[in-house]
């Protein structure tokens, strides 16, 4: 289907089903029950899932395929957000031109940065992108918000004011981001028994876009272009010796992933028409690196999983506090209960970053393939136990060096 083989088609269908049915899947616990706080099916969080999913898919096209570790991708996200908000300010609150412009501007910006950064590789590339991103952050934060030429509105963040031109804004159009009159905040709540499910217009816009770009990334992975990028990762020198210039390929990958980041930034602004400089800081770039590695670098589904995993647990862990822990471990004897809560305490609530850091280190050390590799290993072990007789000689062939 759509030029994909059977396996990829089923993967795409699974992802499509998961995203479309997310309001159901993420709300498994009835309203008002003790577990209801683990529901993640509210619009704001679901939007973040898919938006960061898009961001990570794009990052994976660069890092997963070519092995170039960029520490500056948040700059493209920020640029995307700024251009989307400018579209809201100048044209209208319709999200289509805003998203389109954010992709284009982020593409141009990444073309510029990529053209310079890709002259070096390895750790120098990482540091160059880091330097560019920090520079953009500093510029957006201070310089570009001077009264004469206010492009970013500095610390306050760029937002739409009542006296902005908005030349295409119709008289009846809603006064917040909308898609041809359908506001992004429109939410239809369906109550089924004790459960309630939210269907949010903004979420579905993001979800559909994510499916489209996910499909695109599958096609890139399977194309000759994708093969070329993989060749860059495995041995760029050898590739150059064969007389092939790899620069256009890596640059294309860089620009594509920059456009993905810009798209994510544009969508972020479309969900909430505000853009701030802190989105461009290098810790934000670090976050997308974490997502991609945690999910599984170079795999199709990995980045989406990683983004969902981090955003979900960020949300859940921040909610758990000592009282919740006490209610969980109430079955233990009193002294032991306090001890258990005391031990877990640093890792929850505000300590979520500590948990994330430890988890990330464990993944890098023991599971370089991320969650996807972990799942595959589990599956393999499970299968082996079932068969129990599968001791075929290792048919792995070593490549001639």
């Amino acid at each position: 289907m759509l030029g994909l083989n059977k396996k990829d088609t089923s993967l795409l269908i699974v992802v499509a089903l998961l995203t479309l049915l997310a309001p159901f899947i993420l709300n498994p616990f009835p309203e008002g029950s003790a577990m209801a706080q683990f529901n993640a099916g509210y619009p704001d969080l679901m939007q973040r899932f898919v938006i960061f999913g898009i961001f990570a898919i794009g990052f994976n096209i660069l890092f997963g395929l070519t092995g170039y570790l960029s520490f500056g991708h948040a700059a493209f996200l920020g640029v995307g957000s700024y251009s989307a908000v400018w579209m809201f300010k100048l044209l209208s609150y319709n999200v289509i031109p805003a998203i389109a412009l954010s992709v284009v501007v982020a593409g141009l910006f990444s073309l510029l940065i990529g053209f310079i950064s890709l002259r070096r590789s390895g750790i120098y590339f990482s540091i160059l992108t880091l330097a560019f991103a920090q520079m953009s952050f500093a510029l957006a934060y201070s310089v570009l918000s001077n009264p004469k030429f206010n492009l970013t509105n500095g610390e306050t963040g760029l937002q739409v004011y009542a006296d902005d031109p908005q030349i295409l804004q119709g008289a009846n159009a809603p006064d917040l981001p909308h898609l041809f009159g359908l506001p992004m905040r429109a939410t239809y709540t369906m109550d089924v028994g004790a459960w309630s499910f939210d269907f949010n217009a903004g979420y579905y816009l993001c979800a559909i876009i994510m499916m489209a770009v996910f499909y695109l990334s599958i096609r890139i992975f399977r194309s000759p272009f994708g093969m070329m990028l993989r060749a860059v990762k495995s041995n760029q020198q050898r590739m150059n010796y064969t007389g092939l210039n790899s620069k256009p390929y890596t640059l294309a990958a860089f620009v594509i992933s920059g456009m993905y980041a810009g798209l994510a930034g544009g969508l972020m602004a479309a969900m909430d028409p505000l853009a701030g400089a802190e989105r461009m800081q290098w810790t934000a770039s670090g976050e997308v690196v974490l997502m991609t590695i945690l999910g599984g670098t170079g795999t199709l589904i990995g980045p989406v999983l990683g983004a969902g995993f981090i955003k979900y647990f960020e949300n859940i862990f921040s909610k758990i506090n000592d009282n919740v822990l006490h209610s969980w471990f109430a079955f233990l004897p009193d002294g032991l209960e306090d001890a258990v809560v005391f031990v877990i305490h640093p890792f929850i609530g505000k300590g979520w970053h500590l948990t994330l850091g430890i988890l990330f280190m464990l993944v890098v050390i023991y599971l370089p393939g991320g969650l996807v590799e972990g799942g595959q290993r589990l599956l393999k072990r499970f299968k082996r136990k079932k068969k129990d007789t599968d001791d075929a000689p290792s048919g792995k062939t070593e490549p001639a060096e």
Binding site: I123, Y124, N146
Partner: protein
């Protein structure tokens, strides 16, 4: 003339911090070939050693002073630090006053230990993995260290004042013949600069004039051959990692009075220090020191009103700008050796 001198002096304290951190980074890179993203966290841990010692010294017990009454008529509670009770009030107060310089003694064993544990426990397993993996795992470690410190000390900056004698300013201008009040400079910055020069000198002479240093330098040049000669080079490199951690930690200890330590100060310095290392030339120790001071001074010049009115915001981007230009025009950095990490 005096304005130029003032800007150079202003750049020295940041430059010293850059140089010290970059020196440690380069040392680790040159010996072990590891890109250590957790080096900023070591700097931060050093600063928090000073905070810890200050807190320890200020541990107090409460006594009731019957001679003084508070406004309710109850006896006044007086907190006396244990130190003052043990050593007498005057010596005790002096020890507390000098807590930051004293922290150096406290920090050295801690930093060496932290460095040793880090190398043996984690980094050792990453020698043969790609640089990207090293960056990632040390990045994760930096987050973990930072969050641990945040858990124990909170998110707010903590003041670590310098000793009273060293806390004022001094009029340097009169000493070299300028008008009075032309160059007024905080004493602690001078102390910090002197301290940095001392540490840098110590590291260089250690490498240059001891047998241990000679072996380490030989190992940096050709690790395999040194190993074949029957020298346990790994053990020496581990010690060098500890020393590099110590240098970063001491830089942090003494930096506290200039800028109150908070848990993310390491990350703030890390990015800049990497830029410094790259500008100086990966693996070149003199290059790291030179580039550290150079960029610190450059930053201070870019912060003058003249510079910021000519090119707005130049003070925020100058270091990155220089790094980009250097990387593109002279890939191996200012003093990098040919062929070392030159991709």
């Amino acid at each position: 003339m005096d304005a130029i001198l003032l800007q150079i002096l202003n750049g020295l304290d940041k430059g010293s911090a850059y140089a010290l951190i970059a020196l440690g980074l380069t040392l680790i890179f040159g010996t072990l070939g590891v890109v250590n993203f957790a080096h900023g966290a070591l700097f931060m841990i050093g600063a928090f050693c000073a905070v810890t010692l200050q807190k320890l010294l200020n541990l107090s017990f409460v006594t009731l002073d019957e001679t003084q009454k508070d406004f309710l008529g109850n006896p006044l509670k007086v907190e006396t630090p244990f130190i003052e009770a043990w050593f007498g009030p005057e010596v005790g107060a002096m020890i507390i006053d000098w807590s930051v310089p004293l922290s150096i003694l406290f920090a050295i064993p801690i930093m060496l230990l932290v460095g040793y544990v880090m190398e043996r426990g984690l980094i050792k397993h990453f020698y043969k993995r790609p640089h990207a993996d090293q960056i990632l795992v040390t990045f994760g470690l930096a987050i973990v260290l930072q969050e641990i410190v945040k858990y124990f000390f909170g998110a707010n900056p903590i003041q670590t004042p310098p000793p009273d004698v060293l806390s004022g300013s001094v009029d340097l201008g009169t000493m070299v013949g300028f008008d009075p009040n032309a160059i007024i400079y905080p004493i602690w910055r001078l102390v910090y600069f002197g301290f940095a020069v001392g540490i840098i000198g110590a590291v260089f002479s250690f490498l240059q004039f001891t047998t241990f240093g000679m072996v380490v330098r030989a190992g940096m040049a050709d690790r395999e051959t040194v190993g074949l000669l029957g020298i346990n080079i790994d053990r020496r490199f581990t010690i060098m990692f500890g020393i590099a951690a110590g240098v970063a930690g001491l830089a942090g200890v003494m930096y506290g009075p200039l800028n109150p330590p908070n848990y993310h100060m390491g990350m703030d310095f890390l990015v800049l220090s990497f830029v410094v290392v790259v500008v100086g030339g990966m693996g070149s120790l003199p290059g790291a020191v030179l580039a550290g001071f150079l960029l610190g001074i450059l930053e201070s010049f870019a912060s003058t009103t003249w510079a910021t009115t000519t090119i707005p915001g130049i003070n925020q981007i100058i270091i990155y700008l220089v790094a980009i230009i250097v990387l593109l025009t002279r890939p191996r950095g200012l003093m990098g050796r040919k062929g070392v990490m030159e991709e």
